[in-house]
Structures are given as C-alpha cells and as structure tokens.
C-alpha cells in the first residue's frame, strides 16, 4: 500500500523551510532546467503529465496555461493559498514545511505563462505559515530567484505574499481575484475566464498551492514519467487530509487510485474503538456524502465523480455512528450561509432558508414535507449562480437527505414528541 512520496519526501527535515537546506537537496535545479527550455516546452511537459488541479476543480494545469494569450503583455500568476474548504489542511503543511517548493513552482509556471508579476494569496488565518512563506520569499529574492532576469535568463518575475482576511469565498478563483484587487470578494461571471480577463482584467494563471508545487517535480522527472503514476486520467500523487472521527488525522501523500478504505482505516487509523463509519465526505464538506459500502472505491477524480460525489480538494471527513446526520447537516448549512457573499439570489436566499428549515427540523416544528421543500430549494440553487458556493451546500445536503431520509424523519418525529404543542383554545 506504499505510495511514492514526491512532495512529502523527508518533509520534517530540520530547516527545510530555509533556502540553504532546500538548495542542498537540489532545490531550484528544476527552475534552472525549465529556464533552459523554451516556455512552450515547459507547458508541453505539464500537458504530458496530465496534472489535474489539486484545489478542487481538477482542471488540467497544462491546458489552463495554454489558454493564456501569447505575446508581450502584463500577465499574472496567482497562487490560491486560501485553503478554506472545511476538512482541508494539506496546503498548510506544504507551505509551512517546504515553502521553496511552492516558490520554485510559481516561477516555473510564470515562465511557461510569460507572466511578470505573481502573488501568493494566503488566507489571513494562516499567520504562522504566511510568516514562514514571507521569509522564504525574501531569501529567494535575495538569492536572485525572484526579480529581473532570473538566473541570467530573459525571464523577469516579481512575487509577493498577500494575506487575506477571513472569507471562504476568496478561495473561489474569481472571488480571490476581486479580493486581491482590494474589493469585497464577490465572484465574477465566467466566461470570461481568468486566463483572458483575470487580475486587473489581464490574463491570469491561477492555481492551487499543491498544483504549483508539483511543477518542479514534473520538470525533474518529465511529464510522461509523472503520468505513469496514479490512475488513468488522475495521474500522479495527491496530498489527502483526513479528519473527523479518525484516530490518526493528518495529511498523507497517496498515489491516486488508492482504495479509500486503505486511506481511512489504514493510514488514518479508522474510527475509534467500538464505533462504525456512518458516512464520509470524500472531497471536503462540499462533496456529496458516501456510505460505508463505498469505502472500497479507488480514490481518484473519475471514480468519485461516477459515484455521485467528487474528489474535490482531497479532504476526507469521516463521521461515525455517534453523530446525528441532522446535526452535521445543520452545521454545514450554517457554514455556507455565513460564507455566502450575497451576490446571487439563489445562494443568498437559499442558504438562509436551508438553515431555517433545518432548524425547524431540529426543533420539531417541521413535517416530512419540509424535507421535500428542502430538496427542491437545493435543486433550485444548483447551477443557477455565478459560483459554486451554493452548489457546495446543495450537493452534500441533498445527498444527506436522500441517503438518510429515515433518520431525518425519525428526528422530526422525536423532536415533535419531545416538545408537544400546548393544548390551547383558539379564539
């Protein structure tokens, strides 16, 4: 059940976050190698690797770079380090322990895209990681890896760390761009996509931390070699964050296609003694839930999609049988209601009403018909907004109501019985 460890190789080496130690293990050699290739050559390697975005959408990185227009103009590379998807904490460990890998990846991607300015948008809550990253950026700048004519090449690229201030929606790529422009983080209509009109309306490549950190590894081993790892159409390794009711929560680097059971019960230790898995989220809290019967499915993009869920950010949340599905649903709905930016009516109103309906279900003033109304609200949110925050609530909630309907109905009955209506004579 062993997986090749490309990113997490000797991750706890002391001082790995410093330039000296990073250079000793061959750091920035891949940047040198990339700068000696033409930019199209770098893009070709990334296309051959079939690396899919590691932030949640899973869009092929090489294809994304090829969407940027060619030619001399102000182009930008933005690293989406606003890791706010509940259950996800893989980028945190990467940025904290090996920040130079991310910086090198940003420079390689910037060279391939022809970008001159790059930013790392890191969530404000990751203050410690932001500090480590800022120090690493200054080290790289002082050593000449960032700035004008990097390593004597024609490529010029500036890099700054930008801290966010606490908003889940700023993890959405266009919400991030609006926030980076100094505004409220409201997402934009797509098309036009950031590759054409992104930051300051210029062509922008925006990628997740892990995706960019994989770029140096692909340059090192070659795109075709990387594509041999993993599963068909889900190449390579993935950092997976496992949390919830497991005995050994944490980040694990796995080869895509590994059985989900081996990840949850093998690496993460499974649920505590005496309990059973009730359901699990394969891709963060925004993914439809799966049942214990689906634990033997391989963990890759296509299998999860075929099972009616998604790989998403690669964050597995395990819920055991000591928890009520109604509690989990209400907790989730409150999160999405809080984080809705308010721009689109179906999401702004839908998240609000979903919370209210779930509260009615929880306190016993609901009937089973409320479950049908809840489901219909979720259907009316999905696909009707500028971004997928509304869908991110609607999909898991819908799956929970469908797969655990008896439990919801039982909860409604028990709650009503626990607090019977007072017998009042009405005038």
């Amino acid at each position: 059940m062993s997986s090749p460890h490309l990113i997490f190789k000797d991750i706890d080496e002391p001082g790995l976050n410093t330039l000296d130690v990073y250079l000793k293990r061959g750091g920035y050699e891949n940047l040198k190698k990339a700068l000696q290739m033409p930019p199209e050559g770098v893009t070709e390697e990334l296309l051959q690797s079939n690396l899919r975005g590691r932030g949640g959408a899973g869009f092929a990185m090489g294809k994304k770079i090829s969407f940027l227009p060619q030619g001399q103009m102000d182009k930008y590379v933005v690293c989406n380090a606003d890791e706010s998807e509940p259950g996800t904490f893989k980028d945190r460990e990467l940025m904290q322990k090996i920040p130079h890998l991310l910086i090198e990846g940003l420079l390689i991607a910037g060279y391939a895209a022809g970008a001159t300015k790059s930013f790392i948008f890191i969530r404000g809550e990751y203050a410690e990681q932001a500090e480590i990253l800022e120090k690493a950026v200054e080290e790289a700048r002082a050593a000449g890896y960032i700035g004008a004519n990097i390593l004597g090449s024609v490529h010029t690229q500036d890099l700054w760390v930008h801290r966010g201030a606490g908003a889940y929606i700023c993890g959405e790529e266009t919400g991030l761009l609006d926030s980076l422009e100094g505004r409220r983080g409201n997402p934009r209509l797509k098309p036009p996509f950031p590759a054409n009109q992104g930051l300051y309306q210029g062509p922008t490549l925006i990628n997740n931390v892990e995706t960019l950190a994989t770029a140096p590894l692909i340059i090192e081993m070659g795109g075709a070699e990387y594509a041999k790892l993993g599963a068909e159409n889900s190449t390579g390794t993935k950092l997976v964050s496992v949390s919830g009711n497991v005995t050994n929560p944490g980040n694990f680097e796995i080869e895509l296609g590994m059985k989900s059971r081996d990840i949850i019960e093998g690496l993460a230790g499974g649920v505590p003694e005496g309990r059973k898995i009730k359901f699990w989220f394969p891709g963060g809290s925004s993914s439809p839930v799966l049942t214990p019967e689906e634990l033997d499915l391989p963990y890759d993009f296509d299998t999860m999609a075929k099972a009616g869920s998604m790989l998403g950010s690669g964050a597995i949340i395990v819920v055991d049988d000591s928890n009520s599905v109604v509690d989990v649903a209400l907790k989730l709905a409150k999160f999405y209601k809080h984080e809705s930016c308010g721009k689109c009516s179906p999401c702004r109103e839908g998240t609000n009403w979903t919370v209210k309906m779930l509260q009615r279900i929880d306190t016993g003033v609901a009937t089973p018909m409320d479950l049908d109304i809840l489901e219909s609200v979720q259907q009316q949110i999905m696909g009707n907004c500028l971004c997928v925050l509304g869908d991110a609530m609607a999909m898991p909630l819908s799956s929970m109501v469908n797969k655990f309907r008896e439990e919801f109905e039982e909860h409604i009955e028990l709650a009503r019985e626990a607090d019977p209506y007072p017998e009042e004579a009405v005038a």
Binding site: K117, A127, A165, G182, G244
Partner: protein, 242 residues
C-alpha cells in the same frame, strides 16, 4: 363566489382565488422555539432585520470624502507600513485589506479613526474601506478585545467537541479580560481538532481540563500550551520521513 375574489388583468385572467378555510389554525409553537428563531433574526429599531440601517444618518454633515492628509494625523509606523505595501501592486487599491489589517493591529479594531487613517494614506473614501472591512471575518468593525481567540466550530472540529470547547473558553473568561473569543469557520487545522487560534498561533487538540490553564496563559500573554502548538507537530504520514 364573491366578486372580490376574482382578478381581471392581462397577467391573470379571471380566476377564482380561494380563501383559506377559517377552521385551520396553525398550532402555536412553544416559547422556546419562538425565542430560538427570534435570536437568529433579530429586529432593529425601525423594524428592519438589517443591522446598521437604524443608525441615524447625520443629515447636517456632508458625505465623508477622502481625508485630507493635512488635517488627518496618522502614526508614522502605520503610514510607513501601508506605504511599503503600495508599490507591490500594479493597482495600489489592492493594498486595502493588508492596510486595514495593519490599522487593526494598531487600534485594536477597524475603528472610525483607523478607517480614516488608512483612507488618508491610501487616498480612498472611508465608505469604500468600511464596505471592504465589513465583508471579512478577521476585520472587526465593532470594538472587541485585543487578543483574538478563534475557536474553530466547523464540521471536523465539531465532531471532536469544539462547541463544548468554545463554551468552556468563553465561560472561563471574565468581563474585564481584553480577549475576544469567538467561534470561527474551518481554520485548516482539522488534524488537531478541537483547536483554537490565539492571535494566529494554532494550538490543539485542546481538552476541556486544559482550558483554565490556556485562558490563564492568554490573560498573561504567555505562550499558549507550548507542547500543543501546531508548528511543533511532525507529519503523521508513515512514509513522509524515510
């Protein structure tokens, strides 16, 4: 069918409108449930559910314009910090959020003075900055305690007892403590659930019997639970370290 129940217009041809039968009377929910719903959607002075709309507008004043540097005193350190951020971006407005965060560190919250100072240095209107500040959870537009304790109460931490942890921490704090302890959304530390971020330092897993010690350390400004800090935690991946 009375005439009053029909409608006659281009949108709705003459269609009888049924009136609900008089006998169906919804049962009255108990006072507890009424209270729960009332708490969730409070009403403000003029009956609206939107906070701030009942703040009276001072009609004797003109709308606030970009503050004049000549009449707006700004602490030198804050000015230097914000001006250091501006050249990083092709559009200096991008520095709004880091600048507001810097002002919040100086003033304790995004107070009207703080907003005015940032507006003065960046040459923006205070209204623009308030619009931005009110969007983000980490920027406080109301006065709160200086030390910020964020207890994650999202799904993974909640499955590990985060709600009880938040109650315990808030219960342990006193009125006079300059500490703002609140629930927060997923802080990206689900592996140390249940956890808290004390002014950016991630600490966890915190057990309920450690709460008095933790709160005491917070009050005194000491390192919170040093052996439980995230930065010191090695990887749990069995193959991560050869």
């Amino acid at each position: 069918m009375s005439d009053a129940t029909t409608r006659d217009n281009i949108f709705n041809p003459v269609v009888p409108i049924a009136t609900p039968p008089a006998e169906i009377v919804p049962a009255a929910p108990t006072q507890q449930r009424i209270a729960a719903f009332k708490d969730e959607a409070p009403r403000y002075a003029d009956g609206s559910r939107v906070p701030g709309w009942d703040d009276p507008v001072d009609l004797t004043k003109d709308p606030a314009t970009i503050p004049d540097p000549a009449t707006t005193p700004v602490p030198e350190a804050l000015r230097a910090e914000i001006e250091g951020l501006l050249p990083r971006y092709p559009d200096p407005k991008s520095a709004s959020i880091p600048a507001l965060a810097a002002a919040q560190r100086v003033h304790g919250w995004c107070s009207p003075t703080a907003i005015e100072q940032v507006a003065c240095v960046m040459q923006l209107t205070p209204a623009y900055l308030i619009a931005v500040a009110s969007f983000y959870d980490m920027l406080d537009t109301k006065p709160v305690g200086r030390c910020r304790v964020y207890v994650c109460t999202n799904i993974s931490c909640s499955l590990n007892g985060a709600d009880a942890l938040l109650d315990a921490i808030q219960g342990e704090l006193n009125e006079g403590d300059d500490v703002h302890a609140r629930g927060f959304e997923c802080l990206g530390a689900c592996d140390i659930a249940p956890m808290a971020s004390i002014d950016g330092t991630y600490v966890g897993p915190i057990s309920l019997d450690e709460v008095p010690t933790l709160v005491d350390q917070i009050r005194k400004g000491e390192e919170p639970l040093p052996e439980k800090q995230l930065l010191k935690r090695p990887s749990v991946d069995p193959e991560a370290n050869g």
